[in-house]
């Protein structure tokens, strides 16, 4: 039966101010029940204050075979990291 239901990706916000985080996936016939199922499957131990669900088929993912062209060019470009600024004393801890 569950094979007839679409797969949904579940995102939970743990506390106010934090981003929603992907926590897993589940099956449900529609968005409304996906939220209910997510509540029951992923927030049983008081994990969340907000739930997002999105159909897994609606997610476009980068292809693992494109890993090289996509990500390797950013290797060895240390000048893109903001580690070369001198922070004035009076700013204190950032």
């Amino acid at each position: 039966m569950s094979s007839e239901w679409p797969l949904w990706e579940v995102f939970i916000r743990g506390q106010h101010g934090l981003n929603h985080r992907h926590v897993g996936s589940l099956h449900a016939p529609d968005a409304e029940l996906a939220i209910k199922n997510a509540r029951d499957v992923y927030t049983r131990r008081n994990e969340g204050v907000s739930i997002w669900v999105v159909k897994s088929v609606d997610i476009t993912a980068s292809s693992p075979s494109d890993k090289g062209p996509l990500f390797e060019p950013s290797n060895s470009k240390v000048y893109r990291h903001p580690t070369f600024f001198q922070i004035p004393e009076e700013v204190g801890h950032m």
Binding site: M1, S2, W5, L26, H27, A28, P29, E32, L33, K36, N37, R39, D40, V41, R44
Partner: protein, 258 residues
Amino acid sequence: MATAEIAVDRAALFEFLTRMGDNTLILGHRVSEWCGHAPVLEEDIALANTALDLIGQTQLWLGLAGEVEGKGRNADALAFLRDAAAFRNCLLVERPNGDFGQTLMRQFLFDAWHHVMLTALTKSEDPRVAEIAAKAVKEAAYHLERSSDLVIRLGDGTDESHARMQRALDDMWSYVGELFIADDADRAVAEAGIAPDPASLKPEWEAIVSEVLREATLKAPTSAYVHKGGRRGVHTEHLGYILADMQFLQRAYPGATW
């Protein structure tokens, strides 16, 4: 706190508290029987959550019942060491699980009553009762939302699911009326402002149920026959099997802990 206790007969208050606690205990046990057997994984977990909510509420109701009784019995002693005739749950909650539709219909009919009852109890004159109700009513609100939703989906679903839901409704219907019939204990706690008169909950219950059944395209049976007895300890044979299962360990190994 003390004033509420003085204003009402202890035995009547104990009776009321065991009725609340035994309903949630027996239904919680029934629903937990689905664990590992539900139609889909998501539903399995949802049912287990519901069962755990109900067992959690049982601890509060029976814990308070033990205090009020004042004979040194705690929630565990009341749950595991009483015989069937001392149980005060309604007959509805001891109905067998049947198929998923029957479990769901029993849950919906109970949730609708439970939510209306707990909402009224949040205004109880006894602050201990009001506090338990305030905690439990949030859980019951979710139970009702979920069971209503599923009753509508399956009732207004395929021919097969519709037929099963109608059969479940026909099967469970005559076990609900008992929840609205008052006896002396009910009248005593109602007069003390501790709990509502059971009959006063019926219009709101009917409004919830008739709206959901209408959307679910299901027809409530017209028979007015009501099975009753559970609330005064006269049970169907099903309760005995539940207790045998539930109480075995404490009966065979008294005082066993883990």
